[in-house]
Symmetry: C2
Subunit: 285 residues, 2 copies
Amino acid sequence: MTADADLVDALRLPAGPVDLASIDTNGAPGFAGGKEEGKATLYALGDTLSDLQERLFAEGKAGGNRSLLLVLQGMDTSGKGGTLRHTVGLMDPQGVRITSFKAPTPAELEQDFLWRIRKALPTAGYVGVFDRSHYEDVLIARVRQLAPLEEIERRYEAINAFEAELVEGGTTILKCMLHISADEQKARLLARLDDPSKHWKYNSGDVDERALWPAYQGAYQVAIERTNTDVAPWHVIPADKKWYRNLAIGHLLLDALETMDPQWPKADFDVAVEKRRLTEEDPLS
Amino acid sequence: MTADADLVDALRLPAGPVDLASIDTNGAPGFAGGKEEGKATLYALGDTLSDLQERLFAEGKAGGNRSLLLVLQGMDTSGKGGTLRHTVGLMDPQGVRITSFKAPTPAELEQDFLWRIRKALPTAGYVGVFDRSHYEDVLIARVRQLAPLEEIERRYEAINAFEAELVEGGTTILKCMLHISADEQKARLLARLDDPSKHWKYNSGDVDERALWPAYQGAYQVAIERTNTDVAPWHVIPADKKWYRNLAIGHLLLDALETMDPQWPKADFDVAVEKRRLTEEDPLS
């Protein structure tokens, strides 16, 4: 199974101004089927995704320098955790490194905002996943005025330079904004309140952030527009439908790995010699 | 689905001398079925395993201090990677942290052998998995005489003290030795040579280690005997049958989580108040 070119194309964001309100949060662009078909399709992607991931991992072990970085951003309840479980969970955990970024610690705040990000980058062969990321430093930081506006402005450029450097160094960057509606967020927050097994996910501070919804949408629009570069483009994923969100990111990961096209490394040993060492020369036989 | 008590009991290792040769590497202790049933059973464990893991994760977020640490040890080709993919892969990757320990770096060698281990311990709520571990420092270190014997002797005690400290601090430790026969290793190494997509896993140095098989079995026996404590017991997993190895570790993980019995944290907020904030008081409605 290969990546769905229609779906991947439908998620490409043209350069220029971004109008989130014009992107239907409940849509399923590029996919004609419904929920059951979507789930089955995602599951069917698993083997190819794992196979390509293993090739990338092998390439890394053999001295290659490439890696893949999936950046997940979105409002509370937009489904970053569900994406980790259902889509990232299709890959071999051995080759995946997930980092969940929280509010920076005092020690982190003393450093440049990219300092803690650099420490979490995937090494050669790995698929790194950022659950929130350096984009928080131009999102909540802008909305909550945690830094002066000129510093926020500087950060867009710093992010572009940083990401270009990563791409130059062999990292493919896949940036996804999980796009839900305010109504969907309300429904999900209320569902958490109704289910004691979900209370731990509920944070009353999320409602405070929710009150700033328009400001966040604005901050996302500016951030995406300013950092939607050729080398590290953004994807806005309609995420009211959880199954579509999972499927879309599955196809984007697959497409990224297909484009990287990792190959099994060539043997750095003589197969015949090694076979002999294991057969006629084997000291244990 | 709950952990299979027969299987878990069958893998308990009594205190006292360990005789690896007396444990059939091709056995399936505690499980009467065959390969297909074993695979289906493992798959069926996935939901309960994920549910308990999520409870542990939730507990950690809510201020709990508990975590689970799975230590995987075994000769080359014994299936540490396969266990990660097939068994650890059943859990939510969001709550799993895998560390693969390689030969120590010069910087690591300047520190006590537990220094790099401490840095990789699972934090509250997480399932940590060590692919190789501090046990290498009493295995290859003993066989290859990388440290004086009195230092190796000291390390057994240091490991016991270290693990007791972890258990005291809330970590459940599950130690598994993947037990294969020398013949099975030969077959697996030859299979890697026959398959170009597996060449990357082949290391001609593995054959040098293979020549020291009896010394390694001896080092494992001493290490297991000396560190098979009540608080952090060892399990020797017959691992010639890959499906049994995966199933056995699945049941052991499930059993460990069932014993921990993590509970959904209680709400630290007033549900009625929060519902009102999201309905009549919602600024976005």
